[in-house]
Amino acid sequence: MRLHFTEAQRAFRAEVRAWLEANVPAEPLEDFDTEAGFTQHRLWERTLSDGGWGMVTWPKAYGGRGCDLIEWLIFEEEYWRAGAPARVNQNGLFLLGPTLMEYGTEEQKRRFLPAMASGEEVWAQGWSEPGAGSDMAAIRCTAVRDGDHYVINGQKTWSTRARWADWLFGLFRSDPASSRHRGLTFLLVPLRSPGVTVRPIRQLNGLPGFAEIFFDDVRVPVDNRLADEGAGWQVAMATAGFERGLMLRSPARFQQTARRLVQLYNERRAEADMDPAIRDAVVRAWMGAEAYTLSTYATASRLIKGGHIGAEASLTKVFWSELDQRMHETAMAILGAEAELLPDGGGDESRSWLEGFLFAQAGPIYAGTNEIQRNIIAERLLGMPRA
């Protein structure tokens, strides 16, 4: 155990910080669930990538920087500290990326990863279907083999960022006689293909952050398959692990929220202290964000030594999502009558807390509801019997 940063790690932090200070846009970009905002964010991804920061953990050959996971965490800390734009390609970078790294062929890696790192190709995910949400194994979208193509039919839903994305990754039933977890195949599908219809779904904030996607005889080359036909469930579980675990919700995000919450509390101490539960919640926010950060450094250290992350990702998902929800509830409680005001009605401060509050409501739902995560914890980590 050696809990301090090496010289090299500190130098790396300084380099990241300097680059971000020079390059992060002075004005916040528009929301990436608007058309203008999406374009702005894609451009930012290009800027990042040109600086060599598109996805620091990937090998240079794939558009990365060859960093290890500790450096990744440092990069994320600086990224959030700098208030840099949200990653519009997060589904690609943080979920499909590591999956491709594990299951992709060399050709697939070279084809997809650099364009992902540069923001040239933005990815949406295609897991859920109208009848397959928490019960993901109930997938009915079909992929029928026809020569060197699959022909896809059916419907996906809750596809984050699909409104303006270029590609989709997801699970399709390639064996029509199969049921549940068997007979599923992991495919990469261009959203501009003939037969694809994307119908935006507005979220709580009124923006089309989700979409439904309809596939009508969409032809996808067999080369766009990840791993073997029928091995989709296994691949998807690996992706879900990345989603719940280390990558998608790096601790820096929550540390930044906790810091902002402490600042908010200090600015409005007199009002906040009317309810002693608020101070308690502020202190717990900091403790929670620290615990999540420390836990992530411990996991990264294990992974660097060759360890593996499995069902533990479910512990992580429950922890960060409920921490985030509580932190934003606390901010709303401090803001009082201001909490409900939209940008045109109040200050920037309440605006960003309100947006964060709405988004935090989704945390215990996406990436597998926390009910499912608690089942996984109980059954796979604690060894309790299945129903």
Partner: protein
Amino acid sequence: MDFTFSDDQLEFTDTVAKFLRKEVTPTLIRSLWETEDGRSPELAAKLAELGLPALSVPEALGGLGLGDVDWLPLAREFGYSALPDALLDTAWLAAGALAEDTGNPVCAELLTAIAAGEARIAVGHPANPLVEDAHRADRLLLLHDDGLHLVPASEVRLEARGSLDPSRRLFAVGWQPRAETRLTADPRVAARLFDRGALAVAAQLVGLSQRILDLSTQYTGERQQFGKAIGTFQAVKHRLADVAVLVEFAKPVLERAAYALANGDPLAPVFVSHARVAAGDAAAAAARNGIQVHGAIGYTWELDLQIFMKRIWALDGAWGPRRFHKARVSDFVVDRAGGLDPGDLFAAAS
């Protein structure tokens, strides 16, 4: 000691509830979101036909001469339907304050107009700085350091403030107190006005919680996953059961507060704040657990759940945020509750 509503109260509430469920549909609410002023004169007229604006107006002035206890179950129904109209500000809060001084010809005149459904009064207070429906008001009842003022709409400058809940039309109000606009210097009238505002919010929050419970039990009874309705899963059941417990035990707290307020109980402010905290806790849990059991669809604009969740989140800061009310209860409990006698529970009202 009789801790029940009268048959008359229950029947009238039932009539109003039926009306609201028929008329104040999510479709109507969404269509009003798209309009400039967000309000429906037709709906206001129908509410007046039901006699609602006349409720707190003394009988001598053409009203029903009722009060806080009568309003409570009605305000719950207003919450249940997420009524897009600040009728309570005119008919409960303002009328309640005006009725304290019926010797004043201005008050009597205005109360008569309120009872007839012909006057709308918006209400502002330092603890509720943004005024709802100020754009539709004839007059504004506004608190200043020197007392409560009744200000004609022509004397105020309004600036709209957008709320998370598109049904709430809020305004920052610029105005100058004048000697002629002052209604009363009695701080107790203003204090009761504030308590009525807080209790009205509490009542709506309980109604909103009930609505979310109803929507959630219905949805989870239908939505299938893993080959069965998700409402059969214990985790889903227990989340909603938790909300039901909070709602159930908030109700009598609100009823005591209304009774205390109506009967001049000196502990009314504490009881109202207790009600506001209990209702706020129940509503926050209802929103949190409601969206959770819905899953992704609960996060969409399309689903009506958002109407009720957003009203809860918006109201949580209105008429004194929960922290303000917690502080009022807290100070009382720490200073006095340790020495309270069991007989004191309803003491001052006796």
